[in-house]
């Protein structure tokens, strides 16, 4: 049972009343999270936890201190308020800091599904058992995880901000494995009713069976179809390396100095929208500032980056509502990304490729050159050779080393269907892509 808005409001008021700082912010998280993990077609880990976090940001002049606790007695709260103030007192003046945000109207968005919040260990086990049964029937092995959670966040500050939001998540994935192949499927939703074990299992089993007996393929440059599972990695790294105001202002972003320029193909449009019903919405950021839709790349033209109050203040711009919790030093980041869908059926994308590779999913991707967004990583869980518009053979996994910015200039087709997926921060909704000239730099043995 989570505390709820009234209790969190009372709690925030109590913390604010304890503070002697010129400005004070309190950030409250409360969650109930459970995860059932399975491998070798049985449940081997099954966990649940109830957590709370309180973070206090104290401001004296232009000095800031942040302290946190999960202990909720008055004594502990007073201690954490005093610790934040003590840290602030030892700080140096930060001339770039202007103020904690003033109150602004925050929209209410519905991200709560009661049946997800009430989903219990027996319910999760029933879904997992169905997946494991499907695996046994197909003579493959199932592994994966099924997480359900209910959480609340509240932000209040001494200038009058109070914002509250609650959400539920159901997040499941499974990997089906044979001795020499694997297939993957995943779902993410606010509503656990969107998770259907047999459907999920069927998708992963199909991919696993089709990728059996893989052949080796020489690394090189190939046209590719990136399934939405793989394409989401592009958004993750664009966001992490370049869509935030911090790398932009420090000239470390591919967006730095290039606003208004064509940096991607005209068919590429990317935005962040925390209020859309097509995402798992979150109406405000961790400073309590309402989220605004931010057009990041529009028809290939670099359009903007996201701000919090601190980095916005440095440019005289308002926050776009993308602050991370106080104390984080990465700067603001987008958390509800969208890559605009196209109008192509995936079958038509496949039919258009003379010789290329179908990539189901990427794995262990890491930036090699941040400014050029060059990333390396592996394919995983279903990689196939395409010849004359058809999948002709499963292939052993390949390593790629590829600039994601270059890739966005080589997108030839975009699927009309999109998928909601967990991102590096938050979630993203992504279509599948046909990309010309993807650079595979190595190969592995399986």
């Amino acid at each position: 049972m989570l505390p709820g808005e009234t209790q969190l409001k009372d709690f925030a008021d109590r913390v604010l009343a304890m503070s002697q700082a010129e400005q004070t912010e309190v950030l409250l998280f409360s969650s109930h999270s459970a995860l059932t993990r399975f491998a070798n077609s049985y449940i081997h880990q099954n966990v649940e936890d109830t957590s709370v976090e309180v973070s206090v940001r104290a401001v004296t002049g232009k000095k800031i201190g942040v302290a946190g606790t999960n202990m909720l007695s008055d004594e502990s709260l007073r201690a954490v308020v005093e610790r934040a103030a003590t840290l602030a007192a030892h700080q140096r003046e930060n001339e770039d800091f202007q103020s904690l945000p003033a109150p602004q109207p925050v929209s209410r968005v519905d991200a709560w599904v009661q049946r997800t919040a009430a989903f219990g260990p027996d319910d999760r086990a029933r879904v997992v058992a169905a997946i494991c049964d499907a695996a046994r029937n197909a003579k493959v092995t199932a592994a994966g995880a099924f997480r359900t959670s209910a959480s609340e966040v509240a932000v209040a500050n001494s200038l009058g901000v109070f914002a509250y939001h609650r959400e539920t998540n159901a997040d499941i994935n499974t990997t089906m494995m044979s001795p020499d192949s694997s297939g993957y499927a995943a779902r993410l939703s606010m509503d656990v009713n969107d998770v259907d074990g047999p459907t999920l299992a069927a998708e992963a089993i199909d991919k696993c069976l089709r990728s059996a007996n893989p052949v080796s393929l020489e690394p090189g440059v190939y046209d590719v179809i990136l399934e939405d599972y793989a394409a989401s990695d592009i958004l993750d790294y664009l966001a992490y390396l370049g869509f935030g105001a911090q790398p932009y202002q420090e000239k470390r972003s591919f967006m730095s100095g290039r606003l208004g320029e064509q940096i991607a193909g005209e068919n590429v449009t990317i935005w962040d929208d925390g209020l859309s019903p097509e995402t798992i919405p979150m109406p405000f950021d961790f400073e309590g500032v309402p989220k605004r839709r931010v057009e990041l790349i529009t028809n290939g033209v670099a359009n903007g980056v996201v701000y919090d109050s601190y980095y916005g203040g440095k440019e005289g711009k308002p926050s776009t509502g993308h602050a991370l919790p106080a104390g984080a030093t990465y700067g603001p980041l987008p958390s509800n990304l969208f890559l605009k869908a196209g109008d192509t059926a995936t079958d038509d994308m496949l039919a258009s490729i003379e010789r290329g590779i179908w990539v189901s999913r990427f794995w262990y991707t890491r930036p090699v050159h941040p400014l050029k967004v060059i990333v390396t990583g592996m394919t995983r869980d279903g990689t196939f050779l395409i010849e004359k518009g058809k999948i002709t053979a499963p292939i052993k996994n390949l390593r790629f080393t590829q600039s994601y910015i270059d890739a966005l200039n080589q997108v030839e087709m975009i699927s009309r269907q999109t998928r909601l997926m967990p991102g590096m921060i938050g979630v993203s909704r992504v279509p599948s892509l046909k990309v010309k000239s993807w650079n595979f730099s190595g190969a592995t043995e399986f």
């Binding site: 491998a39 957590s51 930060n94 470390r252 390396t376 590829q402 270059d406 650079n439």
Partner: protein, 480 residues
């Protein structure tokens, strides 16, 4: 804490648990980060909570909470039992954790200077001084310096009769400078990249690494890399510095010998391992020069502790001996499946997470060479230092790493600076090409405070002893 631990264990047993353990974790941590002369991060965090892990009818369950009351101990223990009963729904083998482990003991990290007792003003002044020194260098657009320190008090009790109290202290520090010019970005870090280097020590750790003395060099090197030669493409000899080698050990050996991965229980996320059980004792992992050990008792190592989170005593285990694969990192359950005894590698990220098999201090044992002699004995090749990127496949075979800095080696001497250096290979072939490891004088137990594994994801702190080493016939220069 003893009362709450006992209460939870009693309730779990009454509810039907054949085995139960309870961990109480109290953590205090402080972090200071200076970026571009602003103290952008100054945080102090504390947390307290407990978790109850049970086996009921052969199936696992776990629940955790932050509410430290007897009633909550009852609720959480009962919940763990109910979850274990739900686990049985999907069938599968029953858990066997082998013979009982009973220890009643205490352990405390030895340290000289309590990091929490050092004046906050002195800490901030040090980081600002270091930051200022880096910002003086032209082309530096971002300078960052940080310190982090934590104290963790763990209380472990089990239904087998163990009761262990540990008081663990860690301290870490790091600096970095980023230079930008004409479409190029270069970074240098010290003592290690990806944030910081860390150990189970006190503030003496920060003093020993002399951030101020190294800041000008770090910034100069970042600026110089902007106009350095690009990494050549081809197959050549590579000498890796100790910090890069530490990550190579972490990724291609440490994860590969985790027996839970080998047995498939991490398959859907972190992956499995090419070091399957049929290879134990007969697979040539590397050359005769390659000796790898997991040792949780190294003083100051980030993977050093008294007991793991199953209450198993910290110990040293050979993994690769003269190139031969001889050992895994194990838990009680996975060790029992091989008829072995756990070597104490189970650790949890916090009170609300179950322990998983994690690296302790997984190290490459030193050889006989000095670095100067090793370079002098290398006609042609590349010296690479400090990790910049890392990626490896889910069976820990195909890898690609990049380093912040590299230098040509020509006729036994270090030559021109090289930027954007990368190298790649397959794990057994790569370690098979290792023909020289530097000696104990060059060895550092590098701390990796950011090792991710498990679902929900857990971050482990691991250590890796490594001295520079040489590898032949390595593919370099893979960036398009």
């Amino acid at each position: 804490m003893r009362d709450l631990v006992s209460r939870a264990l009693d309730t779990a047993s009454q509810q039907g648990a054949a085995y139960a353990d309870t961990r109480v974790v109290e953590r205090r941590a402080e972090s200071i980060t200076v970026r571009n002369q602003n103290v952008e991060g100054l945080t102090a965090d504390e947390s307290l909570g407990f978790g109850v892990r049970v086996i009921v009818d052969g199936y696992w369950g776990f629940a955790g909470s932050y509410r430290m009351t007897p009633e909550e101990a009852d609720r959480v223990a009962a919940k763990a039992v109910a979850i274990a009963r739900a686990s049985a729904r999907a069938g599968g083998p029953r858990a066997d954790i082998g013979p009982p482990e009973v220890h009643v003991d205490t352990y405390r990290t030895p340290f000289r200077i309590d990091p929490f007792a050092v004046s906050l003003d002195d800490k901030i002044a040090l980081l600002l001084r270091v930051n200022e020194a880096m910002m003086k260098v032209k082309s530096i657009v971002m300078a960052e310096s940080n310190v982090y320190y934590q104290r963790e008090k763990k209380t472990f009790g089990s239904s087998e009769g163990s009761f262990i109290e540990q008081d663990l202290v860690e301290t870490g520090c790091g600096i970095g400078a980023t230079a930008v010019d004409e479409g190029e970005v270069q970074q240098r870090s010290y003592p290690n990249s990806v944030g910081r280097h860390q150990g189970t020590e006190g503030w003496e750790f920060v003093e020993r690494w002399d951030l101020a003395g190294n800041a000008p060099r770090v910034a100069d090197e970042a600026a110089a890399l902007l106009t350095a030669k690009p990494c050549p493409v081809g197959v050549t000899t590579v000498i890796l510095d100790g910090s890069q080698l530490a990550l190579q050990v972490h990724e291609s050996c440490g994860h590969a010998v985790e027996l839970d991965r080998v047995l498939g229980t991490e398959a859907a996320y972190a992956g499995t391992s090419f070091l399957t059980t049929d290879k134990l004792g007969n697979f040539r992992y590397g050359s005769d020069a390659v000796n790898l050990t997991a040792d949780a008792t190294i003083p100051g190592g980030l993977g050093t502790f008294g007991y793991d989170d199953e209450g198993v005593l910290a110990q040293s285990t050979p993994l690769v001996s003269s190139g031969l694969f001889v050992g895994y990192l194990t838990s009680r359950e996975t060790a029992a499946s091989l008829g072995q005894h756990s070597n104490g590698a189970m650790r949890a990220h916090d009170f609300n997470r179950i322990p998983l098999i994690r690296m302790t201090n997984v190290s490459l044992e030193p050889g006989e060479w000095t670095l100067a002699d090793l370079i002098a004995a290398t006609d042609d090749g590349i010296y690479m230092e400090t990790n910049r990127s890392w990626s490896i496949d889910q069976r820990r075979l195909n890898f690609q790493f990049g380093t912040e800095l590299a230098r040509e080696i020509k006729n036994g001497k270090l030559g021109d600076l090289v930027k954007n250096a990368t190298y790649a290979g397959m794990t057994p072939q790569f370690w098979g090409s290792c023909d020289a490891v530097c000696n104990r004088d060059h060895r550092v137990v590098w701390g990796t405070p950011n090792c991710g594994k498990g679902q929900p994801e857990q971050i482990a702190h691991t250590g890796h002893g490594a001295a520079p080493a040489r590898f032949r016939n390595v593919q370099v220069g893979l960036m398009k």
